[in-house]
Symmetry: C2
Subunit: 146 residues, 2 copies
């Protein structure tokens, strides 16, 4: 577990890997993003994606699962206010994803004593090393108790 | 269905409503964001959330479900490159969510003839009218065929 004081600009944290299946892509889409190109191979082929593609929100959710299991373990959990989210490439069936997190900025919180803000760039990559998503959240991280 | 030419700055689109349950909050978290404050009432109470709280990614996914069923129906689907995502307040069990989408900007795509870019502010609100999330994506929307 890492406290605010343990983070410094430039530090990088790796994650494990997971493989995305067509079934998972369709199940997530049926629940949260029921558009034809996320639900059906043929509709995907006829769309701008050129094939079945995961919802961007599925990519984001899988990224979170990888972060929570990664070397990046702020004390108090991974708690964010949001940030800039960019979907660079679609995620497709059988893609293997992993995440690289890099600390961009650290500062004390003005409004919450005992807490700091850590800005991180979270990059999600596929098995070819292509970036599929970047997310740049600001996280609330507790200071080390005195 | 709306083509690029049908969108103008200031237009607003409403969604239906959905109620979030504790079971759904925990199920989503178990799959995608397995942190104690999203999985367990007592752990939630002991956290900064002060009670069981939905993963921000669950809020985002539910927002997408509301958008896909809303009056906002760009031809070709809701297809975005990403945008700024802000979690303003936690979503809690029994919250009833709805979404308001407002067109912020429209312009032709430089790289894709036949397509335009529509920037939208998507605001997710609870039953008290409190904003729980804002997302400001740029979407790819086809021009009306000649």
């Amino acid at each position: 577990m890492q406290y605010f004081e343990d983070f410094a600009v430039g530090q990088k944290f790796a994650s494990g890997r997971l493989i995305v299946t067509a079934t998972e892509i369709k199940d997530f889409a049926a629940s949260y993003d029921p558009q034809p190109f996320h639900l059906d191979e043929i509709a995907g082929k006829d769309s701008l994606f050129g094939g079945l593609a995961a919802s961007g929100w599925h990519t984001a959710a899988l990224t979170m699962r990888l972060i929570v299991g990664s070397e990046f373990r702020p004390a108090g959990g991974v708690l964010g206010f949001g940030g800039e989210l960019v979907w660079a490439r679609p995620v497709r069936p059988a893609d293997e994803l992993h995440v690289e997190s890099e600390i961009l900025e650290t500062r004390l919180s003005q409004s919450r004593p005992g807490q700091g803000i850590v800005k991180v760039r979270v990059t999600t990559l596929n098995q070819d090393g292509d970036i599929v998503q970047t997310f740049t959240p600001s996280l609330l991280v507790p200071r080390r108790p005195a």
